[in-house]
Symmetry: C2
Subunit: 333 residues, 2 copies
Amino acid sequence: MSKPLFQTEIQGISQACLLRNGCDAENAQAIAGNIAKAELDGCHSHGMFRLPGYVAALKSGKANGTARPEITAGPLGSAVIQVNGCGGFAPLALQQTQAALIEHAQSIGVAVMALTNVHHFSALWADVEPLARQGCVALACTAYLPAVAPAGSQEPFFGTNPMAFAWPRKDKPPLVIDQSSAAMARGEVMIAARDGKPLPPGVGLDQDGNATTDAAEVLKGVMLPFGGHKGSSIALMIELLAAGLIGEAFSVEAKRRDNGDGGPPRGGMFFLAMDPSRFGDAAWGSHSDSFLEELAGVDGARLPGDRRYQARAKNRNQGVCVPQSLLEKITQL
Amino acid sequence: MSKPLFQTEIQGISQACLLRNGCDAENAQAIAGNIAKAELDGCHSHGMFRLPGYVAALKSGKANGTARPEITAGPLGSAVIQVNGCGGFAPLALQQTQAALIEHAQSIGVAVMALTNVHHFSALWADVEPLARQGCVALACTAYLPAVAPAGSQEPFFGTNPMAFAWPRKDKPPLVIDQSSAAMARGEVMIAARDGKPLPPGVGLDQDGNATTDAAEVLKGVMLPFGGHKGSSIALMIELLAAGLIGEAFSVEAKRRDNGDGGPPRGGMFFLAMDPSRFGDAAWGSHSDSFLEELAGVDGARLPGDRRYQARAKNRNQGVCVPQSLLEKITQL
């Protein structure tokens, strides 16, 4: 492990690495900011661990490190904002279009952003938290590469298909849910494989379709959806929203056209933003806050995202230790 | 078991029962239609089994059997349609407002309907399937009465909080997902308790917080969410959408104001409808159909809702057998 690194240091190292490998300043800054946020929140699987993947996608020419998103349609007379990511990475595309989404949701109550032609490799909570900080209820999802078996089968077919939901609170940080449709996030399985740690049961099957707790075997085999057929249905819904609806690739299609460089495939993202002040209840904020406080008071229960916020507060002061081997790998890049 | 009853017979018996207990013709027809559809699809837990609950809510005066929904705000300059259910049951409220929701989604791509002050006691798939049959992608959810423990706790706090998702297909019936946030639908647990059948493990805890497969004990104790903390987060998201956002009661609040007559509490429903032809991909239908056919071809996988459609085809010809004791109970009502 390294000595503790602070958020600005992580951002600086990541930014330098991305700049050197084909990102322009704005893309490097947006991606590095996202990586530093993930490390700060203790989400190491979406932190510097992802840099080699970003670099692979840049080096192979699959992703465009100098892309800017283009709003191609909406919002005049429509609740749908269509954005072409132009083959770039998601962080800058989202940074540059989020104002349009929020503005439109505030104007007519509900807006959907359909983002296509983009490479998403980051934590989804980081994409919805800013929307809720600006007052919107937000729901986001994205497909990926086939890694999860539909309930009852043994074949990688769905992506790990994360969904995130953010709810604005008045004097508190937003409530943020972010969960993979897999029984465990793929990034966590990758970390477990790297560290040689066993998985809990029910996470995946090996290449022969047998249950295993060996992370490396699961990465070669297939992951299972969370919650059996119900989690499987959510993975399916995400495929339909983030691919079928918006005209992008389903996870199985993304793989067929991907060059296998290890970086994120090209795909789409679905964002729903709603302005709660447009739904008829002026007291929505205090009403929901009381409810969330009651929930937080239930013995054994906890609010989603609270652990991340705790890690954020702690790591902001103390810094984050990164595996030395990872730092060396990044320096070499 | 009764002799096989056909859809029209089930509808007729249910309608007569509701008319005799305080529903007007239109409400009786809408509710009975919903009950008959549930029986036809093999969802007995949402069929005639629910009639005593409807009658209880009518007799106690909690629900208004002659209510008409009122569209109170939208859609001019807004993507949000606010509907006051006026204390009636959901089936007629939805029947009379669904055209407005579809029309608005077709007009601007996305629309949300916030339905408040309504008593929902029916299957949610029956509420979204018609939206998809008319070309919309639909997402619906509703809270209920506290029955499910947040992950890590033993206290009934969330409702069984179903969500339904429907996806239109060209020459096929829509793909429809309908799932409770509980590990098993409460209606199914009630049926198991009635029939004295054991539950699979993981469905719930008894009054002392111990795991049990005894359905009657789970009804006295607490149900668990599906998929651990991920299902728990979905139950929470549904509370926030179907109560917090639209100004209605959270499940814990619904219980506090409910008279405990056994009928459905007053609460709210959240509907999102989207017109896929407004998202920029003219080929969305064939693209998604190919994907769904590929999924259906995966060994061991099945499309959500297919079992119901199979039951529907079979039961339309053969009729449905209803427990004699239930029929007698309904006749007495």
